[in-house]
């Protein structure tokens, strides 16, 4: 009996000392922190949220009703307690934009954003690695200089400016890609997962699949370019630095072919800082998605969030921010896993 208890408790201890378990637990605590933070800022700052939400022309009794609904007439910790209770019961509160529960809205709008972000990540990884490798392979060549100029432009031009430029040039002037939305008029796909590319493949609708991809290109590209530039630059710098390290020269000293040296022995260590920086790039991607979805009229969570923000729809704002926070936490854990896969020193330290 006691022996059993001991093994259970040591097993529990082992689980708790695991790096990832700790990280996940910590991020759950942090997510609660975020909810308190947003909640507090919303309630503590001057101005009446109910009045702000309903606008100056709403009659006072309606505002009073809404105030009751949000429990604004009670102390802030009580408000938070009830809100938390609701969250555990699967309710995020009523949205003023759609007059539905915020969770219902999130379920509806999240897939479009997920699809956009995943497509952006694919473009980002392909772009960053090919440019970084091309550039790092032949430093100071013509192509390297071109990549470096592109990297400066990519970093200095914000996503929403890329969005405007790409929309103007590719959609309006050259007219080779659609300017708005997820699908062309007249094309419909049954909702299964909510990811149109996946749903269209599942239902065998290749026309819709191709249409969905063409709609994804410009928004994803505008989100990806900055990250591509950043990562390509870091990869290039690390390749150039590592290629002169003794462990590379040692491989040359043994007559190992230079392609193996470059793509195996130099690339892997150089990838570690590049993948590490992707956590930050993921953050900027999730943030910029708010503007890009607005520009491309993309029916995703971020555009819903912007609408909520402009209407001061508190429940919806807190809901969206929490979901984005959760997504960011998951993304950073995945990137952590990738880094530890690449870097045994990190793996064994954890």
């Amino acid at each position: 009996m006691t022996a059993e208890n001991v093994t259970t408790s040591t097993r529990l201890q082992n689980i708790l000392s695991n790096y990832y378990v700790r990280k996940i637990l910590l991020s759950i605590v942090t997510l609660f922190g975020i909810s308190i933070l947003i909640f507090t800022i919303a309630r503590v700052l001057p101005g009446d949220p109910a009045r702000l939400a309903l606008g100056p022309r709403a009659p006072e009794d309606v505002v009073e009703q809404y105030r009751k609904l949000l429990r604004l007439d009670q102390p802030i910790y009580i408000q938070y307690f009830y809100w938390l209770l609701d969250v555990f019961n699967g309710r995020f509160g009523l949205s003023l934009v759609t007059f539905r529960d915020v969770l219902t809205d999130i379920v509806e709008f999240l897939p479009a954003t997920v699809e956009l972000i995943i497509f952006t990540l694919i473009i980002d990884v392909i772009g960053a690695f090919s440019l970084g490798v091309i550039s790092g392979r032949k430093p100071n060549s013509m192509i390297d200089n071109a990549v470096r100029i592109f990297a400066y432009a990519g970093i200095a031009i914000p996503s929403f400016v890329w969005a405007i430029i790409l929309q103007l040039v590719l959609a309006n002037w050259l007219d080779i890609l659609p300017a708005y939305g997820r699908l062309s008029l007249g094309i419909e796909v049954n909702r299964i997962t909510g990811l149109i590319t996946v749903d269209s493949l599942l239902s065998g609708n290749l026309v819709a699949f191709a249409d969905a991809i063409t709609h994804l290109i410009i928004p994803s590209l505008s989100l990806a370019i900055g990250c591509i530039a950043q990562e390509a630059r870091i990869l290039r710098a690390n390749l150039i630095e590592n290629i002169n390290k003794d462990y590379i020269l040692n491989m040359y000293a043994h007559g190992i072919p230079s392609s193996i040296i470059f793509f195996k022995y130099a690339l892997k260590p150089s990838m570690i800082p590049t993948v590490t920086i992707m956590t930050l790039d993921m953050a900027s991607m999730l943030g910029n998605a708010f503007l890009v979805e607005l520009i491309f009229n993309w029916p995703g969570l971020s555009r819903y969030g912007i609408t909520a923000m402009l209407r001061k729809d508190l429940n919806a704002i807190v809901g969206v921010v929490l979901v984005i926070g959760l997504a960011y936490t998951i993304a950073s854990i995945i990137i952590d896993l990738l880094v530890s896969y690449l870097d045994p020193r990190v793996r064994y330290k954890r």
Binding site: A156, I164, I306, K312, L314, I317
Partner: protein
């Protein structure tokens, strides 16, 4: 008498020597900075833009077009010699408005950084110095919460709860930004905390204030300065994003982000209206990035 005068002379010499060393340090930093062409270009760009911002009334060809001004007969004019970046839907000169936009941009950088940097640095120093105490836990955990959200998302949601105007958007950016300086200063302080020279200063009875600001801060200053220059561009970016969404400065304020947002409704026909202020944003970010790279190289070599 001889010894007395000798002592004074050597003391004077010592303080002069110290001054000379400091002067030489700065000269060396400037020398190294000058060698990087890109950072000199960045600095000159910033100085030119700053000049335009300060003397906007004299530099802008149509200073009255900055705010409310209507001349419908001049509306929607593409770029020409009179209006090098064209005119907008009210007939205002886009170029003039951009120059006033620089003024808001520099205001934003100045205000945000002067709130964020001292706050973050002081909290970071304290958290690092009082390692293992309750103070550390509170400061570090609180910063962690702020940092665990994508910065732009946090800034947008803070801005959304406030009245939409330019000062509140600066406030939102500041509220989002300070934890990054806490993190930076904290990690440096923790690694310096047990260095012999700090312990020696402590054992000689140096005050906490002395250790924080006279011993620790000077060493960390280079890294902090590098981050400040690299961050200046990002402040503009986040600020412009807030304005673009409509949660920041409202028209007719000639804020660059607001202008891009306002004018983007007239795309694609009247493209010059949006691209002008967009290019203004890009110029500022680029200038600070170029400068920041140079500053980083200078301090990385120290």
């Amino acid at each position: 008498m001889k010894t007395l005068s000798g002592a004074t002379v050597s003391e004077v010499k010592f303080s002069e020597l110290e001054k000379k060393v400091k002067r030489e340090n700065w000269r060396r930093i400037w020398f190294r900075f000058k060698k990087s062409k890109l950072s000199v270009i960045g600095l000159s760009m910033i100085l030119i833009l700053l000049f335009m911002a300060v003397f906007a009334e004299y530099v802008a060809p149509y200073p009255s077009h900055a705010g409310l001004y209507i001349a419908f007969k001049n509306a929607y004019k593409p770029p020409s010699i009179e209006h090098i970046l064209g005119t907008d839907m009210y007939g205002r000169d886009v170029f003039s408005r951009i120059i006033f936009g620089f003024r808001y941009a520099f205001m934003m950088i100045g205000l945000v950084l002067s709130i964020v940097v001292p706050t973050g640095v002081i909290l970071g120093l304290i958290a690092g110095y009082y390692r293992g105490t309750f103070i550390e836990t509170v400061i570090v955990r609180l910063s962690d919460i702020f940092i665990s959200l994508p910065p732009l998302v946090l800034a947008l949601s803070i801005a959304s709860i406030l009245e939409p105007n330019i000062f509140n958007s600066m406030l939102a950016v500041s509220l989002m930004w300070w934890p990054w300086y806490v993190k930076l200063t904290y990690s440096m302080t923790v690694s310096l905390r047990n260095e012999p020279f700090i312990l020696a200063a402590e054992s000689q009875g140096a005050s906490t204030l002395h250790i924080l600001f006279r011993e620790l801060l000077p060493i960390e200053l280079g890294t902090i300065l590098t981050k400040v220059t690299l961050d200046a561009g990002w402040v503009i970016l986040i600020g412009a994003a807030i304005s673009f969404v409509g949660l920041g400065a409202q028209p007719p304020t000639p804020d660059l982000g607001t202008m891009v947002s306002e004018y983007s409704k007239y795309l694609p026909e009247y493209w010059w209206m949006s691209l002008g202020p967009a290019a203004g944003i890009v110029l500022i970010i680029l200038a600070f990035n170029l400068l920041g790279d140079g500053v980083r190289d200078v301090f990385a070599g120290e």
